[in-house]
Homo-oligomer: 205 residues x 4
Amino acid sequence: MFSKFLSLDEEKQMRILNAAIKVYVERGYDNASTNAIVKEAGISKGLLFHYFQNKKTLYLFLFDYCLDMVMKEFYEKVNLEERDFFARLRQISLIKMELLNKFPDIIRFFEKAILEEANDIKGDFKEKIFSVKSSTAIFDDIDTSKFRDDIDIQKAIKSILWTFEGFSNEVLTKAKALNLKKPDYEEVFSEGEQYIEMFKRSFYK
Amino acid sequence: MFSKFLSLDEEKQMRILNAAIKVYVERGYDNASTNAIVKEAGISKGLLFHYFQNKKTLYLFLFDYCLDMVMKEFYEKVNLEERDFFARLRQISLIKMELLNKFPDIIRFFEKAILEEANDIKGDFKEKIFSVKSSTAIFDDIDTSKFRDDIDIQKAIKSILWTFEGFSNEVLTKAKALNLKKPDYEEVFSEGEQYIEMFKRSFYK
Amino acid sequence: MFSKFLSLDEEKQMRILNAAIKVYVERGYDNASTNAIVKEAGISKGLLFHYFQNKKTLYLFLFDYCLDMVMKEFYEKVNLEERDFFARLRQISLIKMELLNKFPDIIRFFEKAILEEANDIKGDFKEKIFSVKSSTAIFDDIDTSKFRDDIDIQKAIKSILWTFEGFSNEVLTKAKALNLKKPDYEEVFSEGEQYIEMFKRSFYK
Amino acid sequence: MFSKFLSLDEEKQMRILNAAIKVYVERGYDNASTNAIVKEAGISKGLLFHYFQNKKTLYLFLFDYCLDMVMKEFYEKVNLEERDFFARLRQISLIKMELLNKFPDIIRFFEKAILEEANDIKGDFKEKIFSVKSSTAIFDDIDTSKFRDDIDIQKAIKSILWTFEGFSNEVLTKAKALNLKKPDYEEVFSEGEQYIEMFKRSFYK
DNA sequence: AATGAATGAGGCTTCATTCAT
DNA sequence: CATGAATGAAGCCTCATTCAT
């Protein structure tokens, strides 16, 4: 289906994909006009539709493409031997930070895709996201014996994960408000560590 | 400014507002075409612009209108005497559930508005949301003496609030996935109670 | 046809007519929205159409109304006894200045009407203007014996009139460029006098 | 900026420009609907906006385009060696007649543009006209020694130019009234000559 | 493969005019 | 006589998609 596109030299592939990502991140699906994409990519309108049936197909492909890229990184780096929940959390948080550093546009692409509202593509994005979430059990095989016995472990884990989600948003929002390109990762790390300590003191034996 | 609209008989006002809300919730700002709104409301295109200068003004009005409606409910029901954090949390969660029951569309309108990405209105929505958030300190004046001394109270509170946010999203997503119009509130309440118990056991003295 | 309008108390008549003139002068026929007119006049939309079949009828009436007003002034003041061409020219120029002073809006209304381009009304205005021009022979019965014999009197008169037209536009344009509400009439008069002297020296015996 | 348009084959360019001119001349800026233009040009709505950002840009381009066309003709033919005012005037009048013959629509386009009242474009047209007027001093370097000493030369020149302006309008209006496509240029020339003779006799030594 | 001209539906908005009250 | 809510056509402009070259 995308054989035409994939047999392109890599530089041109990247130019097109990055253009599509950039425009999408800046404007969302509806306002990501094909005009803007081809202009940014430096190709002709016709060519875009030569490679991708239509705008929707382009972004569906882009989603999968970005996902692959990120997943590969992820699985290379996460150490599944480590069974302590907080050690794992620390690891994953670090990897997330690195990803944000390494592929900032791609990550922003996902952030937007998660919230996409355009009827045309909303459903397809949601489906993909759902199937990713349910297939990646990065917190499986945790050593539960360390948790206090009077604590519902599933709920505790959820709380901690939601907390880190909220904390991450807080950090991003603050950085944006201060017009920083990236948060100060030292500081973020140290504050994250404080949350971890708090949860350890409270939920572990 | 909206005097024309406000002097309309209430039935028609509601028809128009509900149409605008419905279309917005289904499609987002950009795709909430005025065509769709007037069709849903059963009025002519011209009439919409007789009442509202333009699409943006309509949705800005709608935001304030919905906010008033919700705020009124809220302030009638929250008991500011109660200083125990979890008691207050329980109260507020209950009120949220009731609101969701009473004004499901309005609440969904806000959920979307918070995440709105359409350049045209994003900023204005964010501003309004910000000024609401900073003016309503529903967790002020909490009795902090009950928290463990080795716990950073601000971080603990944030964790709990983020947890309840995450929990609430989980509930909503599950309900949607099961094609339920509303979650089973009994169940939600009981599960929420379990989270509260867990936090009390962990963060209180 | 306009009996309804004419039986209105004069104050209201004037309010409506002045509103129509003002809006027309500021925006031209096409952009003179009935909304703007009724707002300026402080009456309802329906009422305007109660008095005037439609927008076109209103402005056709207005043209005649303004013309009457101006003509009355004109014929009261021009002295047809005076047979010297330049004396008559001086007279007429003075009357024009006075009119401009007394009915600035009405005169501006005519200035615009003469140039009106809106298809809807262009033809009717042009016709009215034509029939006025051809019926008012304010330079009839001139004493031609004073002109040099080697001069074509008709051409000389035309030259002088076109010169005064050009001069008048020049004055108005200058005033506008300097942001003056009215030209400095002293100065205009004295410069006009110089043109008259020049022509006298050149065209008279 | 207009590269897309300019790289079109000339026939189509002309079809579009002539359509825009025709519609403009007939109806003025406000009423020159893009619908009418594309219909007249036999192209789709979208295509017009593919070439020109918007209606205003189209007409600004058209102005410059027409001006170039006319200016080229003008400068090819005017002889700046000739220092006698009337000889120069005769030259220029002849060139004007030829232009009117060669580009009747373009000339009518300017006639209208000069008087344009549409707020959207009035200012820009005025500016362009102003900069043309001030840059083209077609009556510079005149031999003033031939004028009578008791005559204000500036005023004399203005009179003559205004007279020729008036005369030109008279000719055009008459032709239109008689439903002629063009005036009878023989006759016009001979009548113009009579004006020149009259002024020579009166203003020259 | 590659271009970009060409299309036409659909989006927001304005406005003269009508009509129920 | 007076109001202003209501209509719908028409205006400008955008955009995904097609197609001849």
